[in-house]
């Protein structure tokens, strides 16, 4: 019997130590927002946060999570990403989106003003419906809603000016109701 802390709640669990965290959370604790996709850490549908960092729970033995802080989509709270996801009407089938959101939340915690390249590098979760372009736009919007990151301490010479977060071609009113987020779009 071990104590597993998920979304701030302690759960007594009695499973073999090599059981993946994902199956403990889904089958034993009953939180089904985190999804099974591949069992190999490839697709990211199972992404949760372990001590604030995204992990692929389908390949993480529960023993590695005992005594740590686990947060799932159910514990993400009122994150600006959620509103951005709705504003851009990101999900289609929606199955991978819990993992996408947790991966994106991990990215923004690390890098509050990501460039497209940063997003591409961090967001390796697979979406078969093909919502990537909207995910990218939504992450930029959510980033803009977060507090300004503190200015860099060094780099007084201005050589590493931050990249423009929204290139013109991403803001050109393509997919996504960007002109009137979340509202009726005629």
């Amino acid at each position: 019997m071990a104590k597993l802390r998920v979304n701030g709640v302690d759960h007594n669990i009695d499973v073999p130590a090599d059981t993946p965290l994902l199956w403990v959370v889904r089958d034993h604790i009953g939180l089904t927002g985190s999804k099974f996709g591949c069992g190999l850490g490839q697709c990211g549908a199972c992404t949760m946060h372990l001590n604030g960092a995204p992990v692929r729970a389908c390949v993480l033995p529960v023993s590695a999570a005992v005594g740590q802080e686990v947060v799932t989509i159910e514990g993400l709270g009122d994150h600006p990403l959620k509103q951005a996801w709705l504003d851009f009407q990101v999900p289609q089938c929606g199955y991978c989106q819990s993992g996408q959101l947790m991966a994106a939340a991990g990215l923004l915690a690390d890098n509050p003003r990501p460039t497209n390249a940063d997003i591409g590098e961090a967001m390796t979760n697979i979406c078969r419906c093909g919502t990537y372009d909207r995910i990218r736009r939504a992450i930029h919007q959510a980033a803009a809603a977060l507090p300004e990151p503190p200015p860099p301490v060094e780099e007084a010479d201005g050589e590493d000016a931050p990249e423009e977060p929204l290139p013109a071609d991403l803001d050109a009113g393509g997919a996504g109701p960007s002109s009137a987020p979340g509202g009726m779009v005629r």
Partner: protein, 725 residues
Amino acid sequence: MSVINVSRRTLFQAAGATALVLGWRVRDAHAAKVPPVDDTLHLGAHTNDIDVHLNHWVRIASDGTVTIRCGSVEMGQGASTALPMILADELDCDWAKVRVEGVPVAKEYKRLGVELPVKVQLTGGSSSVRGYWDFLRDAGAAARAMLIAAAADQWGVEPEDCTTEAGTVRCADKVADYGSLVRVAAAMPAPRKPTRKSASDFTLIGTSPPRLDLPAKVDGTSPFGIDVQLDGMKHAAVRWCPHYGGALVSFDASKVLAMPGVVDAFSMSSKSDYGDAVVVIADSTWRAMKAADVLDIQWDKGAGAGLDDAAVDAALTEALDNGTRRPIHKSGQFADDTASVEALYTVPYLEHAAIEPLNATAHITSRGCRIWAGVQGPELAQDIAHKISGIPADKISVHTMMLGGGFGRRGEVDAVEVAVQAAMRVDAPVKVTYTREQAFGKGAYRPVVWARMKADVTGGLAGWSTELVAQNMLARKMPGFLVNSKLGRVVVYDGFHAMPYGVPHQRLHTTNVDFPITTGFWRSVHGSHNGFFRECFLDECAHALGRDPTVLRRELLANSPRELAVFNLAVEQAGPVPAGQSRGVALFESFGAICAQVADITVVDGQLTIHRVTAAIDAGTVVHPDSVKAQVMGAITMGLSSALGERLSFADGAVTATNFHQYPMLRLGQTPSIDVHVVPSTEPPGGVGEPGLPPAPAALCNAIFAATGIRIRSLPIGDQLSARS
């Protein structure tokens, strides 16, 4: 608005032990005629008020809440918002008071076959709006007429003098809301031919209210089939025979049965052409999967022995050269000796790779069988459960869950078969969950298809011949005479037999080739190969003629004004080719819609970057434009993914890829910016889920040719750029 009230708590906590708790109570005359809903799709505003049915599509509560049934399953295409909008528009109700629920398997909820003169309860073929459009408009218009009749009766005025708006009937200074009228309205005769709105009076159709299913997909509460949890539920894992054409010889379960939590292991044979399997039942998903991993199974490779990529290629070559060629279409006189451009194009087997692995839950009791699954064809699920268990169909209920991707794969019912077989062996609900390895290994793949095309480019594009060699996916579902009829072949050749391009001499042949590998419908079906074949070969012809591919297409579309307008819109919206980039264009018409695409790319040192894809679609009258844009964006992404790296290989009749690491799919970092433009139209609705896919691989490969001079004739592109540059 947009509050999701899934009857999830009811289902998940109580359904296993108690009779199904219906989410509504019925006390009205129409109720007896309306089949009870017994699934779990409930979206939108909640009400505790008592509903009154006006017909089998809509009922209204005294507080004005309007509950509309959605005949299609929700697999991401947005049907659970778009379909209710059609009825709500005709009804003139307040969209903020609409809630949506799914439907049971019942003849009342079959849609038009669209391409076929039969009605089916099957979500697929880009047919949700097309297939339910007439029914929903009539149901909404009829309900509105009954509400008007009730008000007119009450006020002593003529129905013609009444108007409706946002859930109210009005006449001069009198106003009554639908909730107060519905009881009387339900007793009014339903008009036999209700008067529909004219398109200019639509208030909802053509707008994009937020999708009702999305809030739960953002907070993790949306109930997919894999999320079903029932009291006392057991979990199953399956091992299908990995060798297509093979069979089970024997298995030894002794080691597995000794594992903790394992309750049973058994073998089965599919009744839907999936072959033999061994199934393990345990007390948790993980234990079942672990146990299935160590099953000791002897398979006979059967016809799969020796079946590998080389054998597939050899059989296709043989069929191309010596197979039975069936003439499909001929116009003018194509003569082989006039052909100066000739090319062989090929595409491989593909997996659907929906991210939710296949799963299904079944529970058999003395009362019958209940199935929870995300399936495209609930009717097929009911039918296969009946065939397996012998339980009468009317005692088998199918609770359609959210689908974590369909793409055609969830039109198959193999997972339902396993769940029902397992449920017959234990006194508990059983959920089977496929591992990703099982999902790859046992599929209904997009078949391998080859096309040899020839063109006569004397003084313009004078002649075009196409010879398609394909494994016909319908061969396993239909008798031979149907496979070889127009009906069977249409899944192979559409896009070639009625080209929008004005080519005077045309000839089309198809040749069937058989393999024991199961194939099926994969998003855009024929379009997934013919878009690539046709639009890239047309590009080759343009270059042979020394013509710009865009200009040549415009000329060839002179007598296809709708196609030309779509093509021009895409090109115009794409604007000038950005400096340093190369461009490819493509057009394809499928599923009642036309889609044109422009791809802008660069290739540097063999490294491809897709910067932007601009698309235009004419899908006739569009219900929810933002969903159309989303579907086209998604289809483009899937098309690009397939073109770049997807391919299934075989050894001894078994798929060699076991998981995503061996089946490269597009990720966000490789995805271009995608702009979709919808052609305004008042034509009847076309399909939307699939037509965006076929042009994508072609536009990409045409851009690659423009950038590098490398003509991609075989998908996937893989390392063809780095190997040859």
